[in-house]
Symmetry: C2
Subunit: 270 residues, 2 copies
């Protein structure tokens, strides 16, 4: 994971590379091509870096429940990730990863890992994946609306059934969206990619006509390894109270399986 | 908070007392009257202890987003809570609290605090509190069904519109429930109490006929200070995949406000 010289390295893998420099300590470089509107690093991208270091420190391969506290804005440049193996059990292992820049901690992540290949138990899903037309017949909202988007939005592709609402300057008042998403350079999502992608789309509250949303905390549950291809996404906010709001995010893979479920607590930027 | 000699101390306050014994270090005693079925300490109760220490270490009063990783079973007896003030900003402050017993860490909590009195912003709720008959006309399921419940269930009161399903040995197959809840000794819930109560009811997956559910990670968002009185609760599991499942928990206060929203990742015990 510290070798970016392979021939067809994808952007996300190149830009989340971490290098071991000491006992449980890693360094990384926050790239400038994953920025949110405003020039700070996209939160999901920072989580990708921290979680990659946590993966290296984990005795089990698959991140399962990941909680991220966003403490400060991340910026392009060097970063350090201090990891701590917290507990290793028979079915689960927990690791903490603190990402800092300079002397300032930017992001604190605690993640529980498992080995999904060994998961045994029943399956019951009381939910449906978003009913979307095929991506080929959908619209690229970034291209269609020409909104100023951070560079992170150029690393990811979106497809909507139709472009309307806040994309066209007419917020619907309904903070809910369903759409397709994938990495633009053809990288198929894996669990690490999913942890980034749950924070890679426009906040649902944009439909309330706000300027944006600042994430305080994000928890993502990675439920299955995704099949290759487009990912069907559902994002929704149901409770805005005095500016604080949750955002729920589901990602379903091309075989119709729920693969990631995230919730964040965020503050309206008005 | 370290003085339990007040005349009408409630059980939850007495049993989550923490005492400062060093720089950011607290001790507590895990009481034996908050046990789950099986004799281990209820997870929400342990979270109450850790979060009380985190509150003391926080420069802001109100826990807002709390993430808890359950590492080992907690047992009655002494506990130590190591806290770390992580970051203090203008609107949010983050604290970590690790609860251990002996040399073993039992629970790791990261919590972001705010001052809810200073919250300003819009409010929009796209959800309804559970439509329940008044608690007075509902049934106490523990008394009615006579199931073996841990001692924690004796500290909390539940009221259901009717007692059926797994309570009567006939699981419905539908992991969903709506009910009233409160502390049995008359203590009104506050934010700390809510953080305990989101883990104080029977898991929704009991309706699948399983033996129980083991929590790996629980995140609770505390959205408003609750009004006194009964709390209306909704618990639901929508995705069980290979035994792993989320559980979503909402608590609404007697004035109809959403006051807590929790999600946990757990494993079926079969």
């Amino acid at each position: 994971m510290t070798d970016g010289r392979t021939e067809c390295a994808f952007e996300f893998d190149t830009d989340t590379r971490v290098e071991a420099v000491g006992d449980h300590v890693y360094t990384a470089t926050v790239a400038d091509r994953w920025q949110a509107v405003g020039g700070t690093a996209n939160g999901g991208y920072l989580l990708g870096i921290a979680l990659r270091a946590a993966c290296l420190a984990s005795p089990m391969p698959d991140p399962l429940a990941v909680s991220a506290f966003f403490l400060r804005a991340g910026v392009p440049g060097p970063a350090r990730i201090d990891t701590e193996p917290v507990r290793s059990g028979r079915r689960l292992a927990t690791v903490q990863a603190n990402l800092s820049q300079g002397a300032k901690e930017v992001l604190r992540v605690v993640a529980t890992f498992t080995d999904l290949d060994k998961a045994r138990g029943r399956t019951l899903v009381r939910n449906e994946m978003p009913a979307l037309p095929p991506p080929e017949t959908c619209v690229d909202p970034v291209a269609a609306a020409g909104l100023p988007a951070g560079s992170a939005a150029e690393r990811v592709e979106y497809r909507l059934p139709a472009v309307g609402g806040w994309w066209c300057g007419k917020p619907t008042g309904l903070p809910l969206a369903e759409f397709w998403m994938r990495f633009r350079d053809g990288r198929d999502a894996d669990l690490l990619g999913l942890a980034m992608l749950v924070d890679a789309a426009a906040p649902a509250v944009m439909e309330l006509g706000v300027a944006g949303s600042l994430t305080a905390e994000l928890t993502v549950h990675l439920r299955a390894r995704p099949a290759p291809g487009w990912l069907a996404c559902r994002v929704e906010t149901r409770h805005v109270v005095e500016g604080f709001h949750e955002e729920d995010f589901e990602i379903w893979d091309s075989e119709g399986n729920l693969v990631a479920q995230a919730r964040q607590l965020a503050l309206l930027a008005e």
